[in-house]
């Protein structure tokens, strides 16, 4: 169960071995562009006063999120967090609904009942996060428990960050998952800063992945800016869980390239750190890789960027047409009705 540091993925043939063809690779690039595009547009909307409350982005974490989600099977489920927009995008949430969610409109996945990335579409196997991190880890363990009880070949993914690793929920969830060898993969988005708290004030070991050994499973440290390395390790861990091999903890190392939320200028993060990690921008890294290894042409890239721009423009206008939720409906839905159980999961 020793800690392992994942190797970067090299050539196109290695990538093919890991299960991705050229079309998949272009799909990953598209999802990275859409993810960053949604958050950049969201930032503008926020500054225009069109988004109430606060606004969070996952800049720097796009490859971590997209890489993991690409490795998930269609019936797998997960609990992505506020730096994981790429998971929603990759699973197929329509961008216009994300903008509607940001703006608190009726067509957002939570119909204005909750904000920012506190959303999920159940039909895509996602469960909406809460603010109390890592409270979603025990929930993900419960999904895995259901799969184990029913002997289904499905896997749950539970996300948390290096900050939330300090809370007891993480321990209880991983311990139960380890004891029962449940089909789950724990994804730690380690972006080095828990609001203003650096890692040396958050945990006393070299790697959070070291902790996996204490729960009886493998921990792997992965460069979270390398989408292909993230994909390969997530795929390995997911398929291991699917075949009865139990949990894995993946620590995806990134840097949170913006403040905790839009109000925070992250003055406490050393400028040199930002500069160093800017050299490892996940989108640029993958773009370069595609050009060097998969013959990405200027024409293809222009076409792709044009398509993403159109998706975002259309999404914004459609979201803007979405109505405000009707205050007369405020009292609805506090309690579920038997009809609510007619969901993809409650068969």
């Amino acid at each position: 169960m020793a800690l392992r540091e994942a190797e970067p993925l090299g050539s196109l043939s290695e990538v093919k071995e890991a299960g991705l063809d050229r079309e998949d690779l272009l799909g990953i690039y598209r999802n990275l562009l859409v993810t960053r595009g949604i958050e950049e547009r969201g930032h503008i909307l926020y500054k225009q006063g069109k988004i109430p409350g606060s606004f969070y982005t996952g800049r720097g974490n796009e490859a971590a999120a997209v890489g993991v989600a690409t490795a998930m099977g269609p019936d797998d489920v997960g609990t992505p967090l506020h730096r994981d927009m790429g998971v929603h995008v990759t699973r197929g949430v329509e961008p216009w609904r994300i903008f509607a969610q940001y703006m608190g409109r009726e067509d957002g996945p939570t119909r204005g009942r909750d904000g920012n990335v506190h959303m999920a579409e159940a039909r895509l196997g996602l469960i909406a996060m809460v603010s109390h991190l890592p409270a979603m880890l025990p929930v993900a363990v419960g999904c895995a428990l259901a799969f184990r009880i029913r002997n289904e070949k499905r896997v749950a993914l539970g996300w948390y960050g290096e900050g939330a690793a300090a809370r007891g929920d993480a321990h209880e969830a991983m311990n139960l998952a380890g004891v029962r060898q449940l089909p789950i993969v724990f994804i730690c988005d380690n972006n080095q800063w828990s609001y203003s708290t650096p890692t040396h004030l958050a945990y006393p070991v070299e790697h959070l992945a070291d902790r996996a050994a204490g729960y009886g499973f493998e921990g792997v440290v992965v460069d979270g800016t390398d989408v292909l390395a993230v994909y390969r390790e997530a795929k390995r861990a997911i398929e291991k869980a699917r075949s009865g091999g139990g949990p894995t903890l993946l620590e995806l190392q990134t840097l949170r390239m913006e403040g905790h939320a839009v109000h925070d200028d992250a003055f406490y993060v050393p400028k040199e750190l930002f500069e160093a990690w800017a050299q490892r921008d996940p989108l640029e890294r993958f773009r370069t890789w595609l050009r060097d290894n998969a013959d990405l042409t200027d024409e293809e890239e222009d076409e792709l960027r044009g398509r993403v721009k159109k998706i975002l423009n259309d999404a914004l206008s459609r979201a803007d047409e979405s109505p405000q939720p009707d205050p007369a409906t405020l009292l609805e839905g506090v309690y579920a009705t038997p009809e609510d159980l007619d969901t993809p999961h409650h068969k």
Partner: protein
């Protein structure tokens, strides 16, 4: 109809649902081999196997959180807290995750958390509490508190069937002391409907759980004074049967709200306020509350007796109301 203890009726309800519906499973500390601290699930693991009667590590947060996740994946989990007091360790999972998931994300969370609650046996501050009002305050949670074996079975089945998180407060004092006829077949008792435990005309007592029997003893004593006491057993406190309470208040025009939980912020305050708002003109006396005082539950029998409302306390309160 067989006569069962309150505890046997809980087991019976759980067994009936587990036999009928293979989505139902039990998870908790020592619920498997040991059969649960109070033996509610004795023999269950033999019948249903280790993956439907799951011995968990000592992890209330993981127990309730896992139930939430499993329920979203289509299961019908029933969690056992070894004592209701330990639900504080799972507060976040219930209040932050389970209670709000339907409202904000449209995801129903059909889980049941069984909570052995109540005092009277020197369990001390951490094995005796009645924390129902804390959870009745949380929109999205339901709270049931059966007092009879028949209700214990029917409300448990209703709770499992319900598409919401339901906290099932089972009173430890009643486990082996209270017996009653319980139908063998599957049946439900509607959540949110009160039961008239005793018909009367002069004073209405609104109560639930073990206090139903304390009220009954007191009511019998008041018969000697020609005072006729009605006892309304709420059975559920969220949702609670406001109509039944108001009807009883209007009939009797005097009302005593009685609970074993502590006074300030206890659910009796909500009942009293509702009566004041909606039945003020039907009252011939101020609403009276009898509750535990605002202290932790004490250990020593002498102190605990002073803490939990006793029959004599209720008799005194009823006499005061009768004479008003």
């Amino acid at each position: 109809m067989p006569e069962l203890t309150y505890l046997q009726a809980i087991s019976d309800g759980l067994r009936v649902e587990m036999r009928r519906d293979d989505r139902v499973f039990v998870i908790g500390e020592d619920v498997g081999v040991y059969g649960g601290a109070f033996k509610v699930t004795l023999g269950f693991q033999e019948e249903f196997g280790p993956w439907r009667v799951i011995d968990s590590p000592l992890s209330e947060t993981a127990i309730v959180g896992a139930c939430t996740g499993a329920s979203i994946m289509g299961m019908r989990p029933v969690a056992e807290m070894q004592f209701a007091d330990f639900i504080s360790c799972a507060w976040d999972q219930l209040v932050t995750v389970a209670a709000k998931q339907r409202f904000r994300a449209g995801t129903p969370v059909p889980i049941v958390v069984r909570l052995p609650s109540g005092g009277g046996f020197s369990g001390g501050p951490f094995h005796s509490q009645n924390p129902e009002s804390s959870f009745a305050h949380i929109p999205g949670l339901k709270c049931v508190c059966p007092a009879t074996p028949e209700d214990a079975k029917g409300l448990l089945i209703s709770a499992i069937e319900d598409p919401n998180p339901v906290l099932y407060f089972e009173h430890k004092h009643l486990y082996r002391r209270i017996k009653g006829n319980v139908p063998e077949e599957r049946y439900t008792v509607p959540i949110g409907k009160a039961r008239t435990h005793r018909e009367g005309e002069d004073i209405a007592v609104i109560t639930w759980g073990a206090m139903v029997y304390t009220a009954e003893e007191a009511a019998k004593q008041l018969e000697q004074d020609d005072v006729s006491v009605e006892i309304v057993d709420l059975r559920s406190i969220m949702p609670w049967d406001k109509e039944a309470v108001l009807a009883s208040v209007r009939k009797c025009s005097k009302v005593l709200v009685l609970h074993e939980d502590t006074r300030s912020g206890g659910f009796g305050g909500e009942i009293a306020a509702t009566i004041a708002e909606e039945a003020f003109e039907d009252l011939d006396a101020p609403v009276k509350r009898i509750t535990a005082p605002d202290t932790p539950v004490p250990f020593s029998p002498a102190l605990e007796k002073a803490f939990i409302p006793q029959v004599a306390d209720v008799v005194a309160g009823l006499k005061e109301l009768a004479e008003y």
